[in-house]
């Protein structure tokens, strides 16, 4: 079933390594292709761009078919409106920044093109660097050139291959922020290959999990993190729910910001985003305390009325993962077996979820 504007990807191959993938990335979404090295992520990206042709593949964007092996259709890469940011940036060593970006703009010619180049350099914060060659740029600057070049194509989808892999911590954060800002400003569809789940949590709206050539899970980040159906991640990641929230209001006196994710309302230490701005929040399961009575005299700010959906075993034998729901929004709580017995937790039982303001990770 295809939705208008969506990117539809299906491919299957046996050589040089087995790979079978079928997913859809809705228009305007950020879809993360997540998996360990060698799981085939880059191959999928290259297939979308038309750089790779598996024996069986279908790639369509917004209803336009780009690849369809059954119909012998293969639109050449240079005619697909895709922007590709390679892991090693793949800048043209002999061209200046301005020339690289101009190269990717085939229209318009002349003066309007120069203006568009300037605009792209401004969006990617590269003003003043237009006459430099890649050799004279830092890693972060090079990546921004790669992004500017990709955006110059006015792409229907932006493809990024491990954009933060080769970058140090500080740069990582700022690049992530830039990419988030870019996405919000342009509503561009993005497909990001990554092996770091933090990227998924902070950036992506949808995620496709790949392991050894097959899709092990696919869906929205919210759904997958809330259901904790993330095969292969149990060892590396503690259960936590990632939610899309909005700034509902600020309390300047108490230095708190109120966030809303549908029925779920939490307060966090002040974040500097305007009211109404989207914020991604992550609530680790181990930070959620359960109570059958409203507490008093605690530093706590967030007391949520919830209902138990299910109690599941966890990686540790003495712990249980409790699935909760607040209205229609799901939440997770990691508690001891003893706690489960003490509170008589079972599906349907109403319960209070207590979360410290500090425990809510907010990514603006």
């Amino acid at each position: 079933m295809e939705h208008p504007g969506a990117l539809h990807v299906r491919l299957r191959q046996a050589e040089p390594f087995p790979l079978e993938v079928d997913f859809e990335a809705p228009a305007g979404s950020v879809t993360a292709l997540f998996g360990p090295s060698g799981s085939g992520k880059t191959t999928v990206l290259r297939t979308i761009a038309g750089l790779h042709r598996p024996p069986e593949a279908e790639v369509a964007s917004g209803g336009q078919r780009w690849t369809d092996t059954a119909a012998q259709l293969m639109v050449p890469t240079h005619r697909r409106p895709v922007g590709f940011v390679f892991q090693d940036y793949a800048l043209f060593p002999h061209l200046t920044v301005r020339e690289q970006v101009a190269l990717a703009l085939d229209r318009p010619r002349g003066a309007p093109r120069a203006a568009r180049v300037d605009e792209l350099l401004r969006i990617t914060r590269l003003e003043g660097l237009g006459d430099r060659r890649p050799g004279a740029l830092s890693g972060g600057q090079q990546q921004r050139v790669a992004i500017a070049r990709a955006l110059a194509r006015d792409p229907a989808v932006l493809l990024l291959d491990e954009p933060f892999a080769a970058v140090d911590w500080d740069l990582r954060e700022s690049l992530r922020q830039e990419l988030m800002a870019l996405q919000r400003a342009t509503s561009l569809s993005m497909v990001i290959v990554t092996h770091d789940f933090e990227d998924v949590v902070k950036l992506a709206s949808h995620v496709v999990l790949l392991e050894r050539g097959t899709v092990t899970a696919a869906g929205t980040v919210e759904t997958l993190t809330a259901s904790n159906r993330l095969p292969g991640l149990d060892r590396h990641r503690e259960p936590a729910v990632a939610l899309d929230a909005r700034v509902a209001g600020h309390d300047a006196a108490r230095q708190l910001t109120h966030l809303e994710a549908r029925e779920l309302r939490v307060s966090v230490p002040t974040i500097h985003s305007p009211v109404g701005a989207p914020v991604r929040i992550q609530i680790p399961a181990r930070e959620v305390i359960l109570a059958n009575r409203r507490p008093e005299g605690l530093s706590l700010h967030n007391v949520l009325e919830a209902e138990v959906l299910a109690v599941e075993p966890s990686s540790h034998e003495a712990l249980r993962l409790v699935h909760l729901v607040v209205g229609h929004t799901r939440l997770l709580s990691l508690v001891t077996v003893d706690a489960v017995q003490k509170l008589a937790l079972a599906p349907g039982v109403p319960i209070l979820a207590l979360i410290k303001a500090v425990s809510v990770e907010a990514f603006a």
Binding site: R46, A49, G50, L51, P76, T77, H78, R79, V82, G83, F84, F86, D88, A90, L91, F92, P93, H94, L103, A104, D106, R133, G135, A146, R149, A150, A152, R153
Partner: protein, 221 residues
């Protein structure tokens, strides 16, 4: 000083470069980028003139293009003159003998272009021809310059094949290398010495200019 012979050598060098370098670029491109099973064999064939004695090459060329061959006869009926012992025959021999000098530097230069850079070019909307024009040619320029110089200089000095395929016909196939040989045999060491010096100076100049050009070009890559 045999100016005719010098002119002939220069003409042969220029014609060989003009015809061979563009064709070799395509061959070099194919060898650098395509993945196919017979690649090792093709590379070996291309490199063959490097190790085969010129006389062997000359012998096979005579057999293949001489009057006794269908190719030679076809050429003769079309052009009115035989292919061997003519300038055209020298050009053909020169194209074959200089193949590795033209192909290998360009192949190496092209292979050094990272695959992602070429892919990125396609992702930037460049058609295959555009990629060649805007990315491959500029980045391979030092290799192309090397190919041009090596081919030219090697052609200037070519002796064995020229002698076998061309004879030593004044004004037609008596290149300057042959002329020097002739002068020595005619006890004219003075004449031979002058021509040898001119050839030496030309070769050194050609190499010097191209090295300078290549250094300039690679400065910003």
């Amino acid at each position: 000083m045999d100016w005719t012979a010098l002119g002939l050598s220069l003409r042969l060098g220029l014609v060989t470069v003009a015809l061979l370098v563009p064709l070799s670029f395509l061959l070099a491109r194919w060898l650098a980028f395509a993945r196919f099973r017979g690649r090792g064999l093709v590379e070996a064939l291309v490199a063959l003139p490097l190790i085969l004695p010129p006389t062997v090459v000359g012998f096979y060329l005579l057999t293949a293009f001489g009057r006794q061959s269908w190719f030679g006869r076809a050429f003769e009926s079309l052009a009115g003159q035989p292919l061997v012992f003519s300038f055209e025959g020298l050009v053909l021999a020169s194209l074959l003998v200089n193949l590795p000098f033209a192909v290998q530097p360009m192949q190496n230069a092209l292979a050094a272009i990272p695959r992602n850079v070429r892919d990125a070019a396609r992702c930037c909307g460049l058609s295959p021809l555009g990629v060649i024009r805007r990315i491959e040619l500029p980045l391979a320029l030092p290799g192309i310059a090397t190919a041009v110089v090596l081919t030219f200089a090697h052609t200037l000095g070519e002796f064995g094949v020229v002698l076998m395929v061309g004879g030593s016909i004044p004004g037609e196939t008596r290149t300057i290398a042959i002329a020097i040989y002739d002068r020595v045999q005619a006890f004219d060491e003075h004449g031979a010495g002058i021509m040898a010096l001119v050839l030496l100076v030309l070769s050194v100049a050609a190499l010097w200019i191209t090295n300078a050009m290549a250094r300039r070009m690679s400065r910003h890559t």
